[in-house]
């Protein structure tokens, strides 16, 4: 089975986000970067499928200065990587999907995996968009997955339950948290990762359809109050929720 797993470099979720002086971007100087946490689930799933079915796992990444994040996927056990390197990567959904699809059109694979969502952008768009561009079926937010004889059966998390869908290969899936427990790279894995093939292809990401007018901070919250200590404070809290906040 040939599996391509798409990974993204994102700022660590600990990061404090500050709007830059131009008002249209964030300050990046102090940011630490990691592979998108949801991509760990897709890399792990690919590795488990390879262990059961045989085959290869190829990591694909579009972005700039992302070699460390790609190597971390190789350290988990992926076989090789293709790095569409664009230092000016714009992060736009439409542009990203077009650029990835342009590369993937020339590739054959059984499964294309993405993390459900990137924690920086939060759109969860790329998997379905690439699938549409390639004419493939897709399923997002997969919590449980099985494979047999050329078909995947995925459980997609929806409000109040799961949609269980069968997809023939080749198909596109996006991984939800809980799909598996990602392995930590071993020391041996980290060493081997340095020698695994990482093909760099200089890439110019397609043009975005949307432009940023400005960035806004979340509206500030007025200061709150400690109503009191322990059970004695409960009647007053209920009174405030009913009569001051009027939420109950």
């Amino acid at each position: 089975m040939k599996i391509i797993v798409c990974v993204k470099k994102v700022p660590d979720t600990e990061s404090k986000i500050k709007i830059a002086a131009d008002g249209k971007s964030i300050e990046t100087g102090e940011l630490k970067y990691i592979m998108n946490p949801y991509d760990e689930f897709s890399v792990e799933e690919a590795l488990q499928l390879k262990e059961k079915q045989g085959g290869e796992v190829v990591v694909l990444c579009l972005g700039g200065d992302a070699e460390k994040e790609i190597r971390s996927a190789l350290a988990m056990g992926a076989d090789s990587a293709v790095y569409l390197e664009d230092p000016g990567y714009n992060g736009d959904n439409y542009a990203t999907a077009k650029t990835l699809a342009d590369y993937l059109k020339g590739q054959s694979f059984d499964l294309l995996l993405f993390g459900k969502v990137a924690v920086d952008d939060g759109a969860a768009a790329i998997g379905p968009m690439v699938a549409e561009l390639l004419g493939l079926p897709s399923l997002s937010a997969v919590e449980t997955l099985s494979y047999e004889a050329g078909k995947f059966v995925g459980h997609m998390g929806v409000e109040g339950g799961t949609n269980i869908v069968e997809l023939p290969v080749p198909c596109v899936l996006t991984a939800e948290k809980g799909l598996n427990v990602p392995r930590y790279p071993s020391v041996m894995g980290i060493m081997k990762a340095k020698k695994k093939p990482l093909e760099k292809k200089p890439t110019k990401t397609a043009l975005p359809k949307f432009t940023i007018v400005k960035l806004q901070s979340p509206p500030p919250r007025p200061p709150g109050k400690i109503v009191g200590k322990g059970v004695e404070a409960v009647p007053q809290l209920v009174d405030l929720l009913r009569n001051e906040a009027k939420v109950i």
Binding site: A123, M129, G160, G224, L241
Partner: protein, 326 residues
């Protein structure tokens, strides 16, 4: 002038509340651009009886795909249907809820229309005919205000943020049939919908959320929160610590690597207030924190706090609420 096509989501034989929110948002958008047709699209096995009522919320007509092909969720079939209506209606904007299904198939619609796509939109504003679409980034630690000179534009709307308003009280929208779509290329096959959690309310749809964190101590102690959630008709949420400890499923997780929520009332019990958790809930209208550590960061963002033992405070709160709520 702008035509807006709106997807109205249904589940288990009923339109979901996000359907009315989306139609209302579509009507407001069209009106602020000088008018235009708002066309709702409903897909399912049968025509739901409430479709004509969408007229009161501003739909000029409803296109109904009532067909076995749409009886169950299918990203490919739904995208084909919505793409067909958007082209026929000469849509400038296509709106849908940022629900789980919306986030799965609407991006495919954007590609079909060669349109820009904005996901999980929190505001749409129009100034001098220029449309600005606002959406959160970094789980709401900041917001992008975006603009595109191209149309059509496709957007999914965050649930509960766009008011469902009957701007045309009493109006009934005419309903027309979607007609045929070429389903030959559809490859994925829907097998079954499995209800989980006994039909518990999802955190993204709840008006009130009661959340438990590490302070609960163990998984069984979520039972302390259940009577409180029941009296408030609230959804149960969880911090990442509680989910990672295996105390509750990930579907309850609120935070940067879980769900972002916008309830009117958020009650955080035994939650310290890590930056990633705040990113998921700081857009709540009113936040209450119950924690026995007066220095917990959650108190910085809470409107009301009680410093105390949640195992005493939560039952007391439940009892106090029962006095007038039951």
């Amino acid at each position: 002038m702008a035509n807006v096509v709106v997807y109205v989501e249904q589940r288990l034989g009923k339109l979901r509340s996000v359907a009315y929110e989306a139609v209302s948002a579509g009507r407001r958008l069209a009106d602020s651009l000088g008018g235009g047709q708002v066309v709702a699209v409903a897909l399912g096995k049968d025509r739901l009886p409430e479709l004509a009522d969408l007229g009161a919320y501003g739909a000029d007509k409803v296109v109904a795909g009532a067909h076995d092909l749409f009886a169950q969720y299918s990203a490919e079939a739904y995208a084909l249907a919505l793409g067909k209506v958007a082209r026929a209606a000469d849509a400038h904007y296509v709106l849908a809820p940022a629900s789980a299904e919306g986030k799965d198939f609407i991006p495919r619609v954007a590609i079909k229309l060669d349109a820009g796509y904005m996901a999980d939109v929190t505001a749409i504003s129009v100034e001098n005919g220029t449309v600005h679409i606002t959406r959160p980034i970094y789980a709401g630690k900041a917001f992008n205000v975006m603009h595109s000179a191209d149309t059509p534009q496709v957007a999914t709307l965050r649930p509960k943020l766009f008011a469902a308003v009957k701007s045309r009280e009493g109006a009934q929208a005419p309903i027309e049939d979607l007609g045929a779509i070429d389903a030959g290329g559809i490859k994925a096959v829907f097998k079954e919908f499995k209800m989980t959690g006994g039909g518990q309310l999802d955190v993204t749809e709840a008006n009130i959320i009661v959340t438990g964190g590490r302070g609960l101590g163990k998984g069984e102690n979520f039972s302390v929160l259940e009577p409180l959630a029941a009296v408030l008709k609230a959804a149960i949420g969880a911090s990442r610590a509680a989910v990672d400890a295996g105390w509750i499923e990930h579907s309850h997780q609120v935070g940067q690597t879980g769900k972002v929520v916008t309830p009117s009332l958020y009650i955080a019990c035994g939650i310290s207030g890590a930056i990633q958790h705040l990113a998921g809930m700081s857009n709540s209208k009113v936040i209450v924190a119950i924690n026995n550590n007066a220095d917990a960061p959650i108190f910085q963002v809470a409107d009301y706090g009680i410093v105390g033992d949640l195992f005493e405070v939560v039952p007391a709160l439940t009892a106090e609420l029962k006095k007038f709520m039951d």
